[in-house]
C-alpha cells in the first residue's frame, strides 16, 4: 500500500505536502517523493528511505504539489522506483497507489519512450505525454485511465498547470475542502489538521482540483459527491508525548470503547441500537453468518464466532478473506456475510465481499472508516468508532471490533428470540464494564514491562488459550511477531500436545489466557504440561490464586465473556515492551504496511 497527498491553494504547497506525507507514513515507508509545480516548471524530489530522509528544499514557491510514500510491490525500493514518476520531458508528474495489471503491454507500445524505473506506474506519465496537449489535463487523464487495467488511485500535476488531476478505481481517494485551498489524499489523516470537510471519490471518478474548487467527473459527466464532516480529532493522529503510536493507541482503548458503545446500549432491557436496516424477518430466516477478514480482524471474527453461536444460536463460520469462495451449497438468501476491516479498503476483504454479493448474499461491513469502500459497498454498516489508528500493529481497533461484534451478537440474538433479555443484559453489563476493566490493565503497565524485559531474549513464545481465549492467543502471538520479529505461535490449549510441545523448552515462555470464557481449568492442565518441561509460564488471569502456579501473572478483572478481550490488552503491552526492549522500530515494522490494498 502507498499513500498519496496533494494540495493546491493560496498557501505554500511544500509544507502541506510534506506534513501530509508524514501523516501517511503508516501506509508505507520504503521511499517517498514530492512534485511541485511553480512558475511554469516542475520540480521533483524523491528518494529511497523514510520520509525524514527525503532531501527537500527549505522553501519553495509552489502553491500546487503532490506527494507519495511508497510500500513496494513492483520494483525494489530505490531512488528511481520512488514516486512521483515523470514523462520524457519531465513536465508531467504522477503518483500512484495500486497496481496496473497491463503495464507490460502498454510499455511495449511506448517503445520510443525512455523508461527509468521498474515500476508499473511509469507507463502513466508516458501515456499522458502522448495525449496531453498542454491544456486539457483532465481529458488526457480520462483517455489514459480508459486504457489501464487494474486498481489505482492516481494524482497528476504538470508544468504550467496550476492544479491537480486525480482518478480513482479500487483504491481510496478522499477530497478535502479547506479555507486556503483544496486537498486530496489516500486517507483523511493526511490533511486533518487543515480541514474536516471532505468528500470521498467513487470508482471511475476523475476530479480536477484548483485553488478555487474541485470538479468531479464520472463517464465524462460532471457529478457531485456528498460532502461529509469527519469528526475525528486531528490530534488523534499525532503522538501526544508517547514514544510510539502503538503505545498511545493501547492507552486510548478505554476512551475508544466508550465511543464504540456510546448511545448503543440498553442494559436494563438487554437491547442494543446499532442503527441497522436488517429486517427482523430476514434475521429470523438466516441460517448462517460468514465472517470474512484478514489478520487481526480475522481474530476479531473468531472471537465473534463463539459469541454468535453461543448467544445468537446461529451457525457462524470465519474465513480468511483471501481464501473465500461462496460454495458449499449455501443458500445466498439465508447467508449473511460480515466483512471485518479496520480501513474498509483491505483488498482481500473487499474481493470476498464482492464475491458474496455477486452470489446474492446480503453483506454487512464492520469498519472504522466512514466513507470507505467497504462501508459504501456493503448493504449495512456497523462503525466501530475507534478513531484513527496509525500504529501498523492494530490494537484499539481489535478491541473495538470485538466490542461492536458483541453488540451485533446481542442484536441478532434478541431479534431471533435466541437470547433472553436477562442473558443479554448480563452480556451488555460486561460490555459496559470494558473501559473500566481495560484501564485497570493499563494501570499495571509497569508490571507488564518488567515481565517483558525479563523474557525479551527468549528463543520463541507460545500463546495458548481455549474458547474465547483461543483467538486472543492467536492475536497475542501476531502482535509479538509483527513488532518484535521474534518467533511466536498461538493456538488452542488442547493442540499443544499434538505437536508443538516438542518445541517447548526452558527458553520458550508460554503465555496462557486463564479467564472466564476461556475454560481456564482445562488450560491449567496445559500450563502444567509445559511447566514440567521447564518452560516459564506467564498468565493473563482472573483466577484468585494465579500467582501460585505461574511465573508471572497479569491480573484481569472479572468481566464474564469479555475477560479474554481484557486479557488481550496485557498481551498487547507485553508485545510492545518486548519489542521496545529489543530496540525495534515499533510503529514501522519491517516489510509491513497498515492496510493492505493489494491482493
Amino acid at each position: 500500500m502507498c499513500g498519496i497527498v496533494g494540495y493546491v491553494g493560496d498557501g505554500d504547497a511544500l509544507p502541506v505536502v510534506a506534513a501530509g506525507l508524514k501523516n501517511l507514513e503508516y501506509r508505507g515507508y520504503d521511499s517517498a517523493g514530492v512534485a511541485l509545480s511553480a512558475n511554469g516548471g516542475l520540480d521533483v524530489f524523491k528518494s529511497e528511505g523514510e520520509i525524514d530522509d527525503l532531501a527537500l528544499p527549505d522553501a519553495h514557491a509552489a502553491t500546487c504539489g503532490i506527494g507519495h510514500t511508497r510500500w513496494s510491490t513492483h520494483g525494489e525500493p530505490s531512488d528511481a522506483n520512488a514516486h512521483p514518476h515523470t514523462d520524457c520531458t519531465g513536465d508531467i508528474a504522477v503518483v500512484h497507489n495500486g497496481i496496473i495489471d497491463n503495464y507490460e503491454a502498454l510499455k511495449a507500445e511506448l517503445s520510443d519512450h525512455e523508461f527509468v524505473s521498474e515500476t508499473d506506474t511509469e507507463v502513466v506519465p508516458h501515456l499522458l505525454e502522448e495525449v496531453y496537449d498542454g491544456d486539457d489535463l483532465v481529458g488526457a487523464l480520462e483517455d489514459v485511465v480508459a486504457r489501464l487495467d487494474g486498481s489505482f488511485a492516481l494524482a497528476v500535476t504538470a508544468a504550467g498547470h496550476d492544479g491537480i488531476v486525480v482518478a480513482r478505481r479500487d483504491s481510496p481517494l478522499v477530497l478535502g475542502f479547506g479555507d486556503d485551498g483544496n486537498f486530496v489524499a489516500s486517507d483523511v489523516t493526511a490533511f486533518l489538521e487543515h480541514t474536516r470537510d471532505v468528500a470521498f471519490l467513487e470508482d471511475g471518478d476523475v476530479a480536477e482540483l484548483t485553488s478555487d474548487g474541485v470538479t468531479v467527473r464520472h463517464d465524462g459527466e460532471v457529478v457531485e459527491r456528498d460532502r461529509q464532516t469527519v469528526d475525528w480529532a486531528a490530534d488523534s493522529a499525532e503522538k501526544a508525548g508517547y514514544e510510539h503510536y502503538m503505545l498511545k493507541e493501547i492507552h486510548e482503548q478505554p476512551q475508544a470503547l466508550r465511543q464504540t458503545i456510546s448511545g448503543r446500549l440498553d442494559v436494563v432491557n438487554g437491547d442494543v441500537d446499532l442503527d441497522l436496516d436488517l429486517p427482523a424477518q430476514y434475521l429470523q430466516s438466516v441460517e448462517e453468518i460468514q465472517i470474512v477478514a484478514c489478520g487481526t480482524s480475522y481474530h476479531a471474527g473468531l472471537y465473534a464466532r463463539r459469541l454468535l453461536e453461543e448467544h445468537a444460536d446461529l451457525r457462524t463460520s470465519v474465513e480468511v478473506a483471501s481464501e473465500y469462495e461462496f460454495t458449499g451449497g449455501r443458500d445466498p438468501w439465508r447467508t449473511l456475510v460480515v466483512a471485518v476491516t479496520q480501513s474498509g479498503e483491505t483488498a482481500d476483504t473487499l474481493r470476498a465481499m464482492r464475491t458474496a454479493s455477486a452470489a446474492g448474499a446480503r453483506t454487512l461491513a464492520v469498519t472504522n472508516t466512514v466513507g470507505s469502500t467497504a462501508a459504501r459497498e456493503a448493504d449495512d454498516v456497523v462503525y466501530i468508532r475507534a478513531g484513527p489508528e496509525i500504529g501498523v500493529a492494530a490494537t484499539k481497533t481489535f478491541a473495538a471490533q470485538v466490542t461492536a461484534l458483541a453488540l451485533l451478537t446481542v442484536d441478532v440474538g434478541r431479534t431471533r428470540g435466541a437470547l433472553s433479555g436477562d442473558r443479554a443484559s448480563t452480556l451488555l453489563e460486561n460490555v459496559r464494564g470494558l473501559p473500566g476493566a481495560i484501564q485497570q490493565v493499563l494501570d499495571a503497565d509497569d508490571d507488564v514491562r518488567a515481565v517483558a524485559r525479563e523474557y525479551a531474549d527468549s528463543d520463541a513464545f507460545f500463546f495458548i488459550g481455549r474458547k474465547l481465549g483461543m483467538p486472543v492467543s492467536l492475536e497475542g502471538a501476531l502482535k509479538l511477531k509483527e513488532i518484535s520479529y521474534r518467533h511466536a505461535e498461538g493456538f488452542a490449549g488442547g493442540e499443544l500436545k499434538h505437536g508443538t510441545l516438542a518445541l517447548v523448552t526452558e527458553d520458550t515462555p508460554v503465555l496462557a489466557v486463564l479467564t472466564d470464557g476461556a475454560n481456564a481449568t482445562e488450560t491449567l492442565r496445559n500450563v502444567k504440561e509445559v511447566e514440567s518441561r521447564g518452560a516459564p509460564v506467564v498468565g493473563a488471569s482472573s483466577l484468585d490464586d494465579a500467582e501460585s502456579f505461574l511465573d508471572a501473572a497479569f491480573q484481569v478483572p472479572d468481566l464474564g465473556a469479555l475477560e479474554p478481550l481484557v486479557a488481550n490488552v496485557s498481551l498487547q503491552l507485553f508485545a510492545y515492551h518486548v519489542a521496545d526492549a529489543l530496540g525495534r522500530n515499533i510503529d514501522k515494522p519491517r516489510n509491513l504496511a497498515k492496510s493492505v490494498t493489494v491482493e
Binding site: 489538521e193 480529532a233 501526544a240 436494563v268 459496559r432
Partner: protein, 389 residues
C-alpha cells in the same frame, strides 16, 4: 506567549484517588482540574502550551493529546522524578525563550488572571507573581507585600509567623533569565528545588511585580476539597447538565448536576444538586445521590444512598448500600482533620456488596472488595477484602 503548566505531581494526600491518576486529572464538573487550567490559558489567548508531566503521565497525554480540542498546541516535557516546581520548570527549558507564563495544573483559576499576568509580563517587569486572599493562608505560600511589590514568600509558615492572608496564587510571568536563577538556587536537603525558593530570593533582593487577584481560586489539597470545588464548578455551569442522561420513568435530576456522556439513571432515582456523574455511569432505580463526585464507569446500584461522597472510576456501590454523609474526622498523613464534610470515598475499581453501611469519613482504597452487610469506617487499605465477622 507560551504557557507552562506544571502537572507532574502525585498528590499523596489525595490517596486513594491519586494511586492511578495524577492529581491534575481529578475531575470536577466531569472535567479534570487540568482541563479547567488549559481552558483558562486558551481563553486568555495562549496558543502554545507546555505541559510538564511525570507521575502517571500517560493519563494526561491520552486525555489532552496535542491540544487540538482546546484550540492550543500542546507539547510535553517530562519530569521523571518529582523534585519540586523549580526542577519541573527546568525540564521545560528547551521549549522556552523570551517571556512565558507558568501555572499550576491543579488550581482552578479564571482566564482573567492569566491575561493580567501576561499583560504585566509584556511590560518587561518580570518576574511577575499573582497574589490572592484565602482563609487558610498557612497551607500555602504567604506573601509579604510592600505596595505593589512582593518582598518575600514564606512557604507554609508557622502560625506565629503568619501575618498575612495573602498568598502566592501560583500564576507567574517570567523571562528566560528565571531558568538561570533556578539553577543558582540551592537544592533543599530533600533534593527538591522549589520555584518559590528562587522567587523568595529574588523578592528579598529586588521585589517582585504583584498582580492582585480576587476571583475564584480553587485548590484541592484534601479529598473533601474535591466535593467543595466540584460544587463551585457545577454551580457555575449555566445549563446544569451537558449531556442528556438516559433516564427512566420517575427519575429526578436537580438543576445543578453535571452529567457526562452515556449516563443512565434508573426509575425513581433522585440526583440532588452538587453532583457530577462521569461518562458511562449507571445509577440504579430508587438510588439517591447528593453532593457527590462519581467518576467514569462507576455503578450505583438500586436503592443505594450516596451522600457527600466520591465514587471512584469503575467502582460499584451495591444495592441498598448507604453512605450516610455529613461531617467527620479524617486522618491524612498522621494529621487529624476534624469536622470536615466527607461522607466517604470509594476507591477506583472497588466493589461494595449489598447493604454496606459507610460511616462518615471512611476512605476505602482502590480495588477493595467489601462483602454484603459490612459497616465500614476509617481507612480501608487498597486491594483489601472486607468480610463480615
Amino acid at each position: 506567549m507560551k504557557a507552562v503548566i506544571l502537572a507532574a505531581g502525585e498528590g499523596k494526600r489525595l490517596e486513594p484517588l491519586t494511586n492511578r491518576r495524577p492529581k491534575p486529572m481529578l475531575p470536577v464538573g466531569n472535567r479534570p482540574v487540568l482541563e479547567h487550567v488549559v481552558e483558562a490559558v486558551a481563553d486568555a489567548g495562549v496558543e502554545d502550551v507546555v505541559l510538564v508531566v511525570g507521575y502517571k503521565r500517560d493519563r494526561i497525554q491520552t486525555y489532552f493529546g496535542d491540544g487540538d480540542d482546546w484550540g492550543v498546541n500542546i507539547e510535553y516535557a517530562v519530569q521523571s522524578k518529582q523534585l519540586g516546581t523549580g526542577h519541573a520548570l527546568l525540564q521545560a527549558a528547551d521549549h522556552l525563550n523570551d517571556t512565558f507564563v507558568v501555572l499550576n495544573g491543579d488550581r482552578v483559576i479564571s482566564p482573567a488572571l492569566v491575561s493580567e499576568v501576561m499583560e504585566r509580563t509584556e511590560t518587561g517587569d518580570t518576574p511577575v507573581v499573582s497574589v490572592t486572599r484565602v482563609e487558610n493562608a498557612r497551607n500555602y505560600g504567604v506573601v509579604e507585600l510592600d505596595g505593589q511589590r512582593v518582598t518575600a514568600i514564606h512557604e507554609k509558615p508557622d502560625a506565629h509567623r503568619s501575618q498575612s492572608d495573602l498568598i502566592n496564587a501560583g500564576v507567574y510571568g517570567f523571562d528566560s533569565s528565571v531558568l538561570a536563577a533556578i539553577r543558582d538556587t540551592e537544592t533543599e536537603p530533600s533534593g527538591e528545588l522549589a520555584l518559590t525558593a528562587t522567587l523568595d530570593e529574588v523578592a528579598r533582593e529586588d521585589g517582585l511585580a504583584a498582580v492582585r487577584y480576587g476571583d475564584y481560586w480553587l485548590d484541592i489539597s484534601y479529598l473533601w476539597d474535591l466535593l467543595s470545588v466540584n460544587e463551585v464548578v457545577v454551580s457555575r455551569l449555566t445549563d446544569g447538565a451537558g449531556f442528556e442522561p438516559s433516564t427512566s420513568d420517575g427519575a429526578v435530576l436537580a438543576d445543578s448536576v453535571a452529567v457526562d456522556e452515556d449516563v443512565r439513571v434508573g426509575e425513581n432515582a433522585t440526583i440532588h444538586p452538587r453532583v457530577s456523574l462521569g461518562e458511562n455511569v449507571t445509577v440504579g432505580p430508587n438510588a439517591v445521590v447528593s453532593n457527590a463526585v462519581v467518576l467514569p464507569d462507576a455503578t450505583i446500584e438500586a436503592g443505594a444512598v450516596v451522600r457527600d461522597c466520591i465514587v471512584g472510576e469503575n467502582a460499584r456501590v451495591g444495592p441498598n448500600s448507604t453512605v450516610v454523609g455529613g461531617n467527620a474526622r479524617v486522618v491524612v498523613e498522621d494529621e487529624v482533620h476534624r469536622d470536615v464534610r466527607l461522607g466517604g470515598v470509594v476507591g477506583d475499581n472497588s466493589v461494595l456488596g449489598g447493604g454496606v453501611v459507610v460511616d462518615p469519613g471512611t476512605v476505602v482504597g482502590d480495588h477493595v472488595t467489601v462483602e454484603s452487610g459490612v459497616t465500614l469506617d476509617g481507612r480501608v487499605p487498597p486491594n483489601a477484602e472486607v468480610r463480615r465477622g
